[in-house]
């Protein structure tokens, strides 16, 4: 497992070697604030909490997370460096985990840079800081879920644009799994237990329950584990194509 750290550090450094990291962080912070103040009406609500901030995270992540995850494996496959990496004495699982963690830490960094909002609400009133911390944790888990899905989509193709689109669509399905838009597709033919199972996969439901202070960690951990495993399987089957 020593290799996980080595691969993670290399990957993380590669984000900052190109403008990608800086562009992403600036856009993330800009959009997060736009959503919070213009769509969430943080000031007008008169409440000293970050609900208007966190409530838009699923939609913010829907497009921004695939932008990070799209290059995880597509780029390695396109440039051929995956052959270099996988012929080092490294387990495939170490590489999958190392790259995923790098992307997650990077997202966590971007999220941590929203701390002025937290300072602002503490300056304006007396928010429930425990709830805010839990909401940050929920947001991180949501990002990790999206990243795991994105990692899998990136492993499926050599083309980063295709990886991006696949990831957005897959994340969108998971986001809205509890809503008629997705459920109607199943309703016509699937038995009720399957429909319930699909509905229970919804990111929004689980994200909101974390926000309310209920830690729905297990759901996210299982989802992440599932998609990372799928990433490894996809790579094992197609890495040399």
């Amino acid at each position: 497992m020593r290799n996980v750290g080595i691969i993670m550090r290399r990957e993380l450094a590669s984000y900052f070697a190109t403008p990608l990291a800086y562009v992403f962080i600036v856009i993330f912070l800009f959009l997060a604030n736009v959503f919070t103040f213009y769509l969430g009406h943080l000031y007008e609500s008169g409440q000293a909490d970050l609900y208007p901030f966190f409530t838009f995270h699923p939609w913010l992540y829907l497009f921004l997370i695939p932008a990070i995850s799209m290059k995880l494996w597509s780029e390695e496959r396109k440039s051929g460096s995956i052959e270099l990496l996988m012929t080092q004495p490294v387990e495939l699982s170490e590489a999958v985990l190392g790259k995923f963690l790098a992307a997650w830490i990077f997202t966590a960094l971007a999220l941590a840079l929203t701390f002025p909002l937290w300072i602002t609400v503490n300056y304006l009133g007396h928010p429930d800081n425990g709830a805010i911390l839990t909401a940050y944790l929920g947001s991180l888990m949501l990002a990790a879920g999206f990243l795991a899905i994105g990692s899998c989509m990136s492993a499926l193709t050599r083309n980063q644009v295709v990886a991006f689109i696949l990831a957005v669509v897959a994340c969108f399905m998971f986001l809205l799994a509890g809503f008629p838009l997705v459920l109607d597709v199943f309703r016509s033919w699937a038995p009720q237990p399957l429909i319930d199972a699909v509905a229970s996969l919804s990111f929004l439901t689980h994200f909101e329950s974390i926000q309310k202070g209920v830690i729905d960690l297990l759901y996210f951990v299982m989802l992440i584990a599932f998609f990372l495993l799928a990433t490894a399987i996809a790579l094992e089957l197609r890495k040399a194509d």
Binding site: R2, N3, I6, I7, R10, A13, S14, A17, T18, S79, G80, S81, E83, L84, M86, T87, Q88, P89, V90, E91, K239, A240
Partner: protein
Amino acid sequence: MIKTEQLTKRYDSLTAVDDVSFHVGPGEVLGFLGPNGAGKTTTMRMLAGFVTPTSGRANICGHDVASEPLKAKAALGYLPEGAPLYGEMTVRRFLEFIADLRSLTGARRSQRLGHVIEHLQLGGVLDQTIETLSKGFRRRVGLAQAIMHDPPVLILDEPTDGLDPNQKHEVRTLINDMARDKIIVISTHILEEVDAVCTRAIIISRGRIVADDTPTGLAARSRYHNAVSMQLEQPAQLAAARAAVAALPAVAEVEVSERDARLTALPRAGATILPAVSELAVRAGLKLKELHLESGRLDEVFRTITA
């Protein structure tokens, strides 16, 4: 020791590598030859553990590539085709990354890093990003990566492809330097390379081994083996010379090139014709610019075998 047993790789309807078995021992430099698409790269990828064989097995220094992949990979230095690298990294960071993955630590790590940097003359570009390097330097970084952990086995997929003649020479010198204490397999479609570095050559065509011999042995299969080639000073003598040489009993065939007034006499199987031809040249009063004995033409053998 590299050992493959009935290594086979099938993609849907295409058999890329078909029943390939060979052994390579210490001190051998094996040249893997074949036309493009013959299965060279797929075979090397199976040896390196990057492609899983459909059937058969590969073994590196006693470690089965399928059941003990990490041990096999640890004994192996591998340069993938085209030497893919992480372009955004500096040479220094990249080599350190490889040293870490190869579990080199402490004094050994700095010693190996120093060695590969010096050996491949990378000192001047250490802080450049890899994407800004010339093709020759990139290939050297790829080679540095392959020899980082001083592996007993080196597999290099087209190590000189796309390099200029000076760079090719450098890489070949490097391979020759390492040949004494390592097992080296290189793939190439450049035949002069076989003469320059290999002690043995395997020719592969449509996924199958069609020849396995020393470079000299392969050249001996050529029609031009022991042929005598001479260049005349006066092109006017060409026709007469041709008739006279063709009349020699041991000569099977005579080829003439008008452009440079060259005449090549091919011997009958097993015959030696140099004394007879040179004697004839003196007797017939031919003015020669040059006369030499051919050892055989690899390109001609290659074409005959793989066509």
